[in-house]
Symmetry: C3
Subunit: 154 residues, 3 copies
């Protein structure tokens, strides 16, 4: 039987860790992008944030909500909804002992879809580009989930 | 000592994978429900989404925010807050070698509460139905968390 | 080779489970804090919530959105963005066989930053206290992610 353990001794888990690491770093970097755009656009969410901005710049003019900040936050929330469920269902999927070639294909398609999804979202590319990339990623997670449920049922 | 490993060779992990799979699929399906209701109600979040809707239908009238879409999104966010924390704390809980009968009861109560919670939320059932189902699920996660913290402390 | 398994037989995983348990419980408790403040401030999100509040108190006056409730919800969302990514990347990090002393330092710094972050957010402490605690936690997750990606690449 193949090594199903969740450790770097398992080559498939190591691949999963790599692609999961990439999409998690992408998700976390949305926080930094939000912070940068809040500062650049003087668009904050809390009174205490405005207080320090005003203390540092007398001519400070608050402008919240800012369309760019709100767009990045929607993209971030979309990542939370999709990347985190991918990593969780992926952990269960890797533990179920799947076909390694299929599994790695799933990880790559998902990672590609989500990286391009961010470009389409932040870059405001014409639809249906973003919708197709979104459903591509979701389809991978759903296929893994079906496999997990099927194997866990008997 | 019982097999505490996170693989399908561990019968308890296999059960955990099944119930986690069910609630993760339920959470992911909220994305699809949101998309369908955005299209049905002409309620989108981005200008580029309106552009394609208008290109496909000359008589298109935007109507955002839409109450049904916003309700589904609140239900989805509630899932993110509760289902994802359940799966994470559940992974740690299964690794701690709990009593299998207690553990499976927890998984079933949580899964039942969250499936009914969605019905109560999307179906607008009178309160306190939704509140009780919410706290039922949260109580399971908290009980597992207390057990993890207790066992991890010594 | 050290035991890299994700079970309580692995002392580093046990430590990870403890600190993850603490920050997950903190995140889940934001749900309870939101519910309490919704009731205290008569600030609900759904018509059926207002219906029961009105049935229980004839003089009920709805006041949504409420600044305290919205602040707690922003803090909760910030936890979802940061705590969940920490636990996921931490699981991969522990599986990669890191130096235990470094790892435990990371877990402690992250947990300290996030507990203080909540105090700074809910207590409305002057900036940049909250921003520094936020970036402290994010830096730990990023360092772990870089280590995971580096080890998973060869």
């Amino acid at each position: 039987m193949a090594d199903l353990g969740l450790s770097f001794d398992n080559p498939l888990f190591k691949q999963f860790a790599f692609y999961s690491g990439v999409v998690i770093v992408k998700t976390m970097s949305m926080s930094v992008l939000t912070a940068l755009n809040r500062i650049r656009n003087n668009a904050f969410a809390n009174p205490e944030d405005y207080a320090i901005a005003k203390a540092m710049d007398k001519d400070f003019k608050p402008t919240s909500p800012n369309p760019t900040v709100e767009r990045i936050r929607r993209c971030h929330l979309n990542d939370l909804e999709n990347v985190i469920t991918f990593v969780l269902i992926g952990l269960l999927y890797v533990s179920s002992g799947p076909d390694p070639a299929t599994a790695v294909t799933y990880f790559r398609v998902f990672t590609g879809c989500r990286l391009l999804h961010t470009i389409a979202y932040v870059g405001q590319l014409p639809q249906p580009s973003r919708a197709l990339l979104f459903f591509g990623g979701l389809a991978v997670s759903m296929l893994m989930a079906v496999d997990v449920l099927r194997k866990a049922s008997y």
